[in-house]
Symmetry: C2
Subunit: 166 residues, 2 copies
């Protein structure tokens, strides 16, 4: 089965050849989702939401996905047996669809200004969905295998791109 | 730009010609994500997570998307001016990618047994990602335009598929 999607816009970020692992909320750069003008009408009332899901095509990755990985940001903390690809957020996946949650700063015409987005400049947009608190906030969620990792709290700062000493 | 993805598995649900608007956590039916066997290795350690994101191809929708919609479940409560498509979770979208958060019940070989999934039986899977509490739980999220709707609390029961007396 072949599934065909199309780009509905482009994401502009300051990241040209390096991007953080996850959205950095307080990044000072400018982050814009520029929807193709023909979709502008579809943004009506989106500004009432604080957060949105952005789905995008991870188009800068050409590596073949591996099913067992050792995330580089874990360094020597990576579990010895590695982690299954689907238990990770690695961008190298059978279908390279990226998913990020960002805060809306403002919307002007077909442009959504957002908090930090962990993608390269020029990334094609696939979809935008509202993040609805009662549906999407899972208070009893956990951190999965990350809870097993030594020094987890420190590593969470890495994964979240929060600057910190050591 | 043409973007090509492929099915990496199939979702089995009891929903043949009706599906709820959102995942119904306590549905008694059986919900399975059957990954193509060649991807089984990629599930290693996924069972340490309580929740996952499931991305799927909404393949049963043939309608053309409209940019302004009046969600049918809102009935007469729908805002008069309608809602922008991207401020909604409507399945009729330029790129029909579905996104649901479900709880893992158990994983056996290439099969993930989950809590209620709001999709038709036979829906093709695009991706599975772990739901990581610190990244994905936004305590300060809101309900967007839903907060403006009269009788919102009652409508949230509808959107969540929770049975209730009128």
């Amino acid at each position: 089965m072949n599934i065909n999607f199309k780009s509905i816009g482009i994401i502009e970020t300051p990241y040209m050849d390096f991007a953080p692992y996850q959205p950095v909320e307080e990044d000072n750069g400018e982050f814009k989702i520029i929807l193709n003008p023909e979709y502008e009408e579809g943004l009506h009332k989106l500004n009432r939401f604080k957060y949105i899901y952005v789905l995008y095509f991870i188009n800068k990755v050409s590596k073949k996905p591996e099913l067992t990985i050792k995330p580089s940001w874990l360094g020597s903390f990576a579990p010895e047996s590695g982690i299954g690809l689907f238990a990770s957020r690695s961008p190298v996946r059978p279908n390279p669809i990226g998913l990020s949650i960002v805060r809306i700063k403002k919307i002007e015409e077909n442009i959504i200004y957002t908090s930090g987005l962990d993608v390269f400049d020029g990334t094609p947009v696939l979809d935008i969905k509202p993040y609805i608190k009662d549906l999407d906030t899972k208070e009893d969620a956990n951190h999965g295998w990350l809870d097993d990792v030594k020094d987890k709290d420190h590593l969470m700062l890495h994964i979240k791109g929060i600057p910190h000493d050591y």
